[in-house]
Every structure is written in structure tokens, then in C-alpha cells.
């Protein structure tokens, strides 16, 4: 029980730290100077770039959890993989949306197939959605863990190939990636970036730990014994003349 409250306190501090960091990051995002070429639209990137980084990190953790579960069969890896996937899908959506919001004023279009990274990230989004869809469709926890671990393992080897094939496709026609232009980044912009990056990482860890604990509680509820649900039928008076 003492261990539990220690854990709760640690999570509370983590949540607090994440909130403060995100707040600071947002403040810096709004107060840092506009970019030489993109003007104020560069502010979206303070959200977009860390979100993209986290989408990858979350996916990497899911893949790692999947492989570790296959090797050790310990439920904690399954919970980790699942929790990270849920958070990752949100960050991937944020990445795609902020990319589109940035793209409209800067590139002139919401979506450009010219950016291999965005295209690949969109595909990764669908793979995540499929992973979560598979988990939701399987009622048995053991089968669910097994199958989603296998899917995680397949995805971790296939996704690099997906990215590679899209890059191969774009070849030399790759549009400049989403990042601030200009030869060097101003010190205050760099600070804003780094603070947001740290903030997002803290946010990820805070969300992950909360989701993981929820998954733990969900999975350790005891269930009924099957046969006890069948009783002798009560037929007296049921059949009338």
C-alpha cells in the first residue's frame, strides 16, 4: 500500500511537471519572434515538430512492447504497447492536422504529396488505427495480447519499408520539409523549440503512465467461473394443460 501511494505521488508530480512545461512551451510559442520567411505561421511548428517526434516515439514504444511481450509473455509489455499506441494515434493525428494547418498558408495547399514524410505519417496513422481496431475487436485478453503483439512486430518491420518506398517515390521532388527556413535559427526560437520538445516528452510520459495504470486496473479485475452460470432449470408450473 505504501508503494501504491508512492506511485500515485510520483504520477501527480509528473502530471504537474508536464502541465507546467506545456504551459511554458505554449507561452514561448506565442511570444517568440516570427520567422523571417514564414512569419507567424512558424508558431504552428512548435506544436507540429514535437508532436511528430512523439508519434514516432510512441510507435517505437508500442513496437518494443510488442516484441518484449512475445519474448517474455509478461502482461506489462502488452499494457505498455497498448497505452503507447493510444497516445501515439492522438499525436499522429495532431501531427497531420498541424501539418495541414501550416501547409495551407505556407505551401498554399492543405495537403501536398510532395512531402514524403507527411504521406508516410498518414500511412502510419492508419496502421495505428488498425492496431487499436484489432484490440477492440478481441474480447479475450490473452488472445488480444498475442495477436496485437504479432501485429506490432509486423508493423515495426514494415513501417520502415513504407517510409522508404514513399521516399523512393518522391526522389528528387521532395519539397522542403516542414521546419523554419532561414540559415540559422534565432536563439529564442531554438529555446521555444526545445522547451516544447521537453514539454511534449513530459506530456507523453505523464499520459503513458496514467493510461498504463488504467490498463492495469482494467486487466486485473477477476472474472466469473464459467460453469457457475448454468443452473438447474425450473420447470414446475411452466407447462400448463
Amino acid at each position: 500500500m505504501k508503494g501504491q501511494s508512492k506511485l500515485n505521488r510520483a504520477s501527480q508530480w509528473l502530471a504537474l511537471a508536464a502541465t507546467v512545461a506545456v504551459g511554458a512551451g505554449l507561452a514561448l510559442a506565442f511570444t517568440s519572434p516570427p520567422d523571417a520567411l514564414q512569419g507567424n505561421f512558424v508558431r504552428i511548428l512548435y506544436l507540429h515538430v514535437p508532436a511528430a517526434w512523439l508519434a514516432f516515439l510512441a510507435f517505437g514504444v508500442t513496437a518494443l512492447g510488442s516484441v518484449l511481450w512475445l519474448v517474455t509473455r509478461k502482461p506489462r509489455w502488452d499494457r505498455l504497447a497498448h497505452s503507447s499506441a493510444e497516445i501515439g494515434v492522438v499525436f499522429t493525428a495532431v501531427t497531420l492536422l498541424t501539418g495541414m494547418i501550416w501547409g495551407r498558408p505556407v505551401w498554399g495547399v492543405f495537403w501536398s504529396w510532395g512531402d514524403a514524410r507527411m504521406a508516410s505519417t498518414a500511412l502510419m496513422f492508419f496502421i495505428y488505427v488498425g492496431y487499436l481496431g484489432l484490440r477492440r475487436a478481441i474480447p479475450d485478453p490473452d488472445v488480444r495480447a498475442k495477436r496485437s503483439a504479432v501485429l506490432g512486430a509486423i508493423a515495426v518491420v514494415q513501417i520502415p519499408l513504407v517510409y522508404f518506398s514513399v521516399y523512393l517515390w518522391r526522389g528528387l521532388h521532395q519539397l522542403p520539409s516542414i521546419r523554419p527556413d532561414g540559415p540559422t535559427m534565432d536563439a529564442s526560437m531554438l529555446t521555444a523549440f526545445l522547451v516544447n520538445l521537453v514539454a511534449f516528452n513530459l506530456l507523453y510520459v505523464a499520459l503513458l503512465s496514467a493510461r498504463y495504470r488504467l490498463a492495469f486496473v482494467e486487466q486485473t479485475q477477476p472474472g466469473p467461473v464459467a460453469g457457475t452460470a448454468v443452473t438447474k432449470p425450473r420447470l414446475e408450473g411452466a407447462v400448463d394443460g
Partner: protein, 210 residues
């Protein structure tokens, strides 16, 4: 070494515990009957012994292969499982089904016409499994078991859907297996059907063997 040795085997599905700590030893030459009401987990127990259902907890060995390890693939051809549903490919004929199984399992295909004779289906060998009655399909299952010299017979409700002649096949199958040093587990909701055949009977209740 016993043919089957189960110790505190737990099997759960979708959060529901079906086997709640099964202990069971089956020695060579034994015929064990398992009775119990619907939903008591008899079929799951049988399928666990057939190595098709990995246990969630507990230790078990079947024909000296530990459950839940890759050893089970080695011993599967020595296990004869006949369940509620016949294990047949619907689009193939009865004869083709048996030949297909023989080829996969490395059994001599020339045994197929013989075993079809034994179970009384020699004239039905050319019928597609999908077109056959349940009784015929189950007899084909028994033919499959007859063909593979199994050391452990696992029979789920062997009398269901079978006429007296076919029931005689089941008895002969069990006798043959036991005579060669094997063992059998017969599951039935009808405790009476078990008494004549089995050396001992146990009842499945609340996920446990009484």
C-alpha cells in the same frame, strides 16, 4: 511416465475462468470418463489435453510434452481427438479427407480404404463431406483416429449422433488403443454412458474435477 499429467491447470477465456485448477493423471491402459453439465468446461479440458488450448497457469504434460512449449507439435500426431464437430474439409470427399490427413501426418495412404471399411463407409468414400450426414462425418473422424496409431484418445460425446453400429466402432477404437499401451478420455454429459466403458469417472463442476 503417465500419459497425461495435469497440475493446477487454469484456462480462462475473455475474463471468464473455464478450468479453475485441474489436477488429473492418466496412466497407460486407463480409460477415464469425465461427466458434467453443459458449460462445465469438459470440452475445454479435452482440447487442453489435445494441446490445442494453451493453459493460462499450471503445469501439464501430455505424452511427455510440456503444455505451452513447442514440444507439443511433436506429440500431436499421437493424439487422437474427436470432437463435437467432425474435423473435415467440407469440399473434399470423405476418402480425400482421409488421404489428405494421411499425407500431412506421414501415414501410409493405403490404409485409407481399409479404415473406411472398418467404419462402414467404404461405399461413401466418394461423397463430399459437406453432403454427408453428421453421423457419417463422425464415423470418418473415427476412421481418421483408427488410421493414426494414437497413444491418447480424446473423445467428446462419442455417442452423440451415432447409431449402435457406430458406437461399437468407438468401443473397438478404445480397446485397440488401450491394448497397445495407450489411454483414453471420454467426455459425456450422460454419466450413465460412461460407466460401462471407463475404468474411473470424474465429474466436472465449477471448473474443477470432483
Amino acid at each position: 511416465m503417465p500419459l497425461v499429467s495435469l497440475s493446477n491447470i487454469v484456462v480462462a477465456r475473455s475474463g471468464t475462468t473455464i478450468l479453475d485448477g485441474i489436477d488429473l493423471d492418466i496412466e497407460s491402459g486407463e480409460i477415464v470418463g469425465v461427466s458434467g453439465s453443459n458449460g462445465s468446461g469438459k470440452t475445454t479440458l479435452l482440447r487442453t489435453m489435445a494441446t490445442l488450448v494453451p493453459p493460462n497457469a499450471g503445469n501439464g504434460t501430455v505424452l511427455e510434452a510440456r503444455l505451452g512449449t513447442p514440444d507439443i507439435y511433436r506429440v500431436r500426431p499421437l493424439i487422437g481427438l474427436a470432437g463435437h464437430q467432425a474435423t473435415l474439409v467440407p469440399e473434399l470427399t470423405l476418402g480425400e479427407n482421409l488421404r489428405h490427413f494421411a499425407r500431412l501426418a506421414g501415414i501410409d495412404q493405403d490404409l485409407v480404404p481399409e479404415v473406411l471399411e472398418v467404419v462402414g463407409l467404404a461405399d461413401a468414400a466418394g461423397l463430399a463431406a459437406a453432403r454427408c450426414s453428421n453421423g457419417m462425418k463422425r464415423r470418418t473422424d473415427l476412421a481418421r483416429l483408427w488410421m493414426s496409431s494414437c497413444r491418447l484418445l480424446l473423445l467428446d460425446e462419442p455417442e452423440a449422433g451415432l447409431d449402435d453400429d457406430a458406437v461399437a466402432i468407438v468401443d473397438a477404437l478404445i480397446k485397440r488403443c488401450v491394448a497397445r499401451g495407450g489411454g483414453a478420455v471420454v467426455v459425456s454429459h450422460d454419466a450413465g454412458a460412461l460407466h460401462g466403458r471407463c475404468s474411473r469417472t470424474r465429474e466436472m463442476k465449477d471448473g474443477l474435477l470432483q
